[in-house]
Symmetry: C2
Subunit: 170 residues, 2 copies
């Protein structure tokens, strides 16, 4: 994931939980870990952290909902993290270096680490979009954002440090 997908995001961290209805998982309390003004652009996005509820550490899984007009993240690519999404409801537009592509329920896409193809989902429709997103937590990952003056470095504690492209901190 492009931001903040680490154990500290989990509302519950016990590994004793059994199966749950994903839609009933608690929503993440921090809507975005991006610095301002990028955090504000994440309004209309809600993430329910699933994997951490079960004590998973090697990868994260979120159930994410985008209201009309909302976006999944800044358009970005990862140096070491693979990502995968599966659409459950609605018609998000996948935007990559190859342009926009309209998705539908049952469709999926993967974003391989290191290929530099920046991606995000945009909800350009009038209805809600719901999808599953998976990303691993490989150490040393870096996030690149071709459209915005921001870069991200994954910290040892699992969080992200954000900086301007010239290296100056936010």
């Amino acid at each position: 994931m492009s931001e903040g997908k680490h154990p500290a995001d989990a509302t519950a961290t016990t590994a004793t939980i059994r199966a749950i209805s994903a839609a009933e998982a608690p929503a993440r309390k921090t809507p975005s870990n991006y610095p301002s003004p990028f955090a504000e652009r994440m309004s209309g996005r809600e993430k329910r952290v699933l994997g951490d509820l079960f004590g998973l550490k090697n990868f994260g899984v979120n159930l994410t909902r985008l209201e009309p007009g909302a976006v999944s993240s800044l358009r970005h690519s990862h140096s070491k993290q693979d990502e995968f999404i599966y659409v459950l409801e609605g018609t998000p537009t996948l935007v990559t270096d190859h342009g926009p592509e309209l998705l539908a329920p049952g469709m999926c896409a993967g974003f391989a680490a290191g290929n530099g193809n920046a991606h995000c989902l945009e909800n350009r429709s009038a209805g809600a979009v719901v999808y599953l997103e998976v990303g691993d937590r490989t150490i040393g990952d870096q996030g690149s954002y071709p459209d915005d003056d921001i870069q991200a470095l994954k910290l040892a504690d699992g969080g992200w440090a954000f900086a301007h492209k010239d290296g100056s901190p936010y």
Copy 2:
């Protein structure tokens, strides 16, 4: 995953593929990598490899279908691999050390590496079950099977070596 979730399973390995309908991904040609007689117990199970189609390496994602009476795998736990499942269709029964639990569409479960809680899904219903399964590919993973005379060791090439519990090979 409990068996055979490695790049060699992918029908296509190009990373240039864009979004796809998961149900249209090709089914895995080898129904099971378990040795006999366990492979035969996997009849009625069909896996469509999704993550590998996009060049993902850090974790695998499959769309898996269980016909009535079929099971997801031998009941097992992993030493280093986290696993996650999300039910799309039908009502599989999750079987763990805590007993059986009936699932339904929209439900999910995670299986944290190293906790020893062996798990599988069984389709005890009259209809098909379809779910997404995710598992990472951490090196040195071992699979333990409390109900069966088998053990598994993840190889450097991503495959699995199976042996009896006394170490003798299959």
